[in-house]
């Protein structure tokens, strides 16, 4: 019996640890010592638990550094118009060789990089700082202003936000160019892109964003999906200077 005890324990150890192996959440590029699959609540040892933080006026406090939980799994099935579907198919066939991200250009909205984001919230302004991509940022104005005019052809668009009660921050973004991709597979959009995001924070560790993309220039219907972020209380944004030595742009040959 004793003879087999070690092997039984060993098998148990493997059985316990092996399920952790196929991690598929890019944003959790956390230290290996952190352990756990950040997107899997059962094994997530990096995301803290606790009640939703709130500002003195009772609204949800989103401040913090977050890892995207489902970077690789968002918006897969955009209902593309025929011309957009053709571009999408061409980009798939080209293995995403022309992805603006490969050229260190902004990812646009609502696409994100696999790296962490920092939310900075004040009464009148909500700022999203993206560690990845080109250190892009979004200013979301909460001061009651409208979108105004002359905003067209922006890489990151123009964003205004308002509160629905104390729990949901609704962000409305327009004024985009048509150069960014909706995802890494190459779903295109037009300059009529209109993005609505509803930010909620059901507990300390999680922020959910319900995203609706409306683009009468490229989609056949509005498309809604949800993205989640996981609080990383011990992380800070790190440097990522995409253009330092981007030899890739000259070597993305595709097929």
């Amino acid at each position: 019996m004793k003879r087999y005890y070690g092997w039984v324990m060993a098998a148990l150890a493997v059985a316990v640890l092996l399920p952790l192996a196929p991690m598929n959440i890019s944003a959790q590029a956390g230290p290996a010592k952190g352990g756990g699959k950040a997107g899997d609540k059962a094994k997530d040892t990096l995301t803290p638990t606790g009640p939703t933080p709130r500002t003195p006026d009772g609204k949800v406090d989103f401040n913090g550094v977050y890892a995207p939980a489902n970077f690789a799994n968002y918006g897969a099935a955009f209902p593309l118009q025929p011309w957009a579907k053709k571009i999408f198919d061409d980009r798939r066939a080209g293995l995403s060789k022309d992805d603006p991200e490969g050229y260190c250009l902004p990812a646009g909205v609502p696409r994100i990089s696999p790296f962490p984001e920092k939310f900075v919230q004040t009464k009148d302004l909500f700022v999203i700082l993206d560690e990845g991509n080109v250190h892009s940022y979004r200013q979301i104005f909460l001061d009651g202003r409208g979108h105004g005019k002359g905003l067209d052809q922006l890489w990151m668009g123009h964003s205004i936000g308002k509160w629905e009660g104390n729990d949901t921050l609704v962000v409305d973004s327009v004024g985009f160019n048509d150069k960014t991709w909706l995802n890494g597979q190459g779903a295109p959009h037009s300059d009529k892109l209109h993005v609505t995001e509803k930010y909620t924070r059901p507990d300390l560790g999680h922020v959910n964003v319900e995203i609706t993309i409306d683009d009468p220039g490229a989609l056949t219907a509005p498309h809604t999906f949800t993205r989640s972020f996981l609080l990383r209380p011990d992380w800070e944004l790190l440097e990522y200077v995409c253009n330092e030595f981007n030899i890739d742009s000259d070597r993305l040959v595709g097929k």
């Binding site: 192996a21 590029a29 995403s96």
Partner: protein, 147 residues
């Protein structure tokens, strides 16, 4: 017994850490050939800790005995740092066995180095440096890019 258990734990942990996703800002398949895996045995010439990808330059003797240098793309420094690596994780002169993939573009880099993507760098003591499944749609990726 204990040692068996510990060994299994270490092995399982190795699998675990080996599959921590790494990150890239471009599609793996657009630049590297997943049908061209190579194993390179050589010594570290230099680690360039730079964006958007750190590069490891490894001197390898080819079949004729001539030393050639491979320039092997890894992750960005921020991604490597969060996994506990740093610019001293590989040092000049370290003997390494590299699991890599050739670039589709056969041109060497401007310095003459052959070009590839390094997925893991095993040191003489078996420690695997920068090992992982990059989130770039590469052959050991857990998911295809940008789904």
């Amino acid at each position: 017994m204990k040692s068996t258990c510990v060994a299994a734990l270490v092995a399982a942990s190795g699998l675990f850490s080996a599959s921590i996703p790494l990150l890239a800002h471009h599609s793996f398949a657009a630049e590297y050939d997943s049908t061209q895996p190579i194993t390179l045995k050589g010594t570290v010439k230099e680690l360039k800790w730079q964006n958007p990808h750190a590069y490891v330059f490894v001197d390898v003797k080819d079949e004729s005995g001539k030393t050639v240098t491979w320039a092997l793309e890894t992750l960005s420094p921020n991604a490597l740092a969060r996994q506990g690596w740093n610019r001293d994780s590989l040092k000049r002169g370290d003997a390494v066995t590299v699991e890599a993939y050739k670039a589709k573009d056969p041109r060497p880099l401007p310095d003459g180095s052959l070009h590839g993507n390094g997925r893991s760098f095993a040191l003489a003591d078996g420690k695997r440096v920068f090992a992982g499944a990059a989130e770039d749609g590469g052959p050991d990726s857990a998911t295809a890019r940008g789904k």
